[in-house]
Symmetry: C3
Amino acid sequence: MKILLHKIIHLIVLLISHIGLVLFPYSVAERIKLFKRQIYTYWLAPNFRKFGKLSMIHYPVCLLGCKYISIGEKVGIGTRSVITAWDNYEGDTFSPEITIGNNVWIGDESHITVINSVKIGNNVLMGKKITITDNSHGNNTLEEVNTAPNKRQLYSKGPVIIEDNVWIGDKATILPGVHIGYGAVIAANTVVTKDVPTMAIVGGNPARLIKIIE
Amino acid sequence: MKILLHKIIHLIVLLISHIGLVLFPYSVAERIKLFKRQIYTYWLAPNFRKFGKLSMIHYPVCLLGCKYISIGEKVGIGTRSVITAWDNYEGDTFSPEITIGNNVWIGDESHITVINSVKIGNNVLMGKKITITDNSHGNNTLEEVNTAPNKRQLYSKGPVIIEDNVWIGDKATILPGVHIGYGAVIAANTVVTKDVPTMAIVGGNPARLIKIIE
Amino acid sequence: MKILLHKIIHLIVLLISHIGLVLFPYSVAERIKLFKRQIYTYWLAPNFRKFGKLSMIHYPVCLLGCKYISIGEKVGIGTRSVITAWDNYEGDTFSPEITIGNNVWIGDESHITVINSVKIGNNVLMGKKITITDNSHGNNTLEEVNTAPNKRQLYSKGPVIIEDNVWIGDKATILPGVHIGYGAVIAANTVVTKDVPTMAIVGGNPARLIKIIE
């Protein structure tokens, strides 16, 4: 009896693991994936400073410094995203802070790296493969050039602030010190090097103003 | 005897699952991956409107609305790609259509999202991390700016058409309403916002004409 | 006794496989991931021409032609990267060579494709989703336009050389024939089409000189 139970549990675990999905029709497999996602989220949630209701983390993500990350309600973090809050790097210590509001979606394979502060407001929608960083490896000085880039001191030009209702397209990059205003739209593949005004649409590399929504 | 058979099947499933690959030399593992890919493709194929001979889907992909997607022969869809045909979103209904010709390769981690129509011709070669979209979250009007971007109505400026023999580099983005002419080349990281003439080479963000092949 | 041993080994394999990770606290799971990475690296290492001490490959990567790839010491190759050295393609044969120095980090989901030569020096730090290629599908001539891009002869304009202490941001692309000088910085999303001088900072698509570090 005990052996049978063990077998059944064993089989369920195996079936839920990805290769097992092909034993089910596609629609059932989707539900199993959802179930797996819930278990994964439930498992990760206690590690965060705050983790709001109905938020969901899509398996698998790569996280560092969860205790510096606050996540609001109804947030989704896409699969294969990497969110890192560094409290030390090459002997320096930092006080990183990542704050994510309510109803935020961070697309798959996005990358957020923080030593200072990244604040994302409510209702921010991000596409896939977004990069957000508040820091760089060194400050581009002559003294550092003979140091390996991964051994240079991390330097933050300033915090990144993304206001409410911003929409960011696939593969955009938000650089240190940037403030993106309320309701702005950042086109796909845009590199945002400077502040973006409220309700502005920007695109290009580096970002240029396309128009203001009026 | 039955127990032994059960054990053997069990072991095979386990070995095929990724951790098990290290039990084999690399060359054998590659064949097992191919076998896994075939099982995966065989499992997904019946969900599509049409699925041509010798086409292959590389495990894992994320699909929505397979019944609106027609795939020709000898098509390859790269691993971790996301292809979504939305027939409803936030209360609106759509009639999406994705048509992919013969001998098309969609690179790994690409993203195709459709509410209207995306037509990809024959012999189209796409790099990795391509984005193709025929829609946007809202139409950038003042009325929408106070609505969360993920709650805005999806809007399609027009279908995307990619003619035969087009080659698209890694991380390029094709925006709504764009028609890419026969034999065109889209450089890596290009953002295509306007139509591309036949046999044109374009690059940049936004795309600029580099030359016409003559 | 034998059965028990078999069970225990079986269970360990299962637990190490990703679904099993949720049976442990997050911190323990991280160590298991590290262990898995070491096994994976140990398994792949003999396939390379050279594989230096303390180098690490993050599970899973996609490799082709390992015997043409030399990897120095303390190199890290990020998860889901694709590194391909083609010694034949569509009937043509090539002598590809990929040389990676010491203390190099290749970010997750990067893509390096070679038929000729890619040399990466020491202390090169690359972000995620980098593309480096020394070849293209055809040479953009009128004769080739009626050939499917994936059937065109691969053509290399020249080798790619990346000198020591270069730092490359997320999603940058390095095109064939490019030489990047010592200590240069390539901003995120940059497309490098021409040589980059020593200690230059470049950005944009195509890359433009931002400044020389002095």
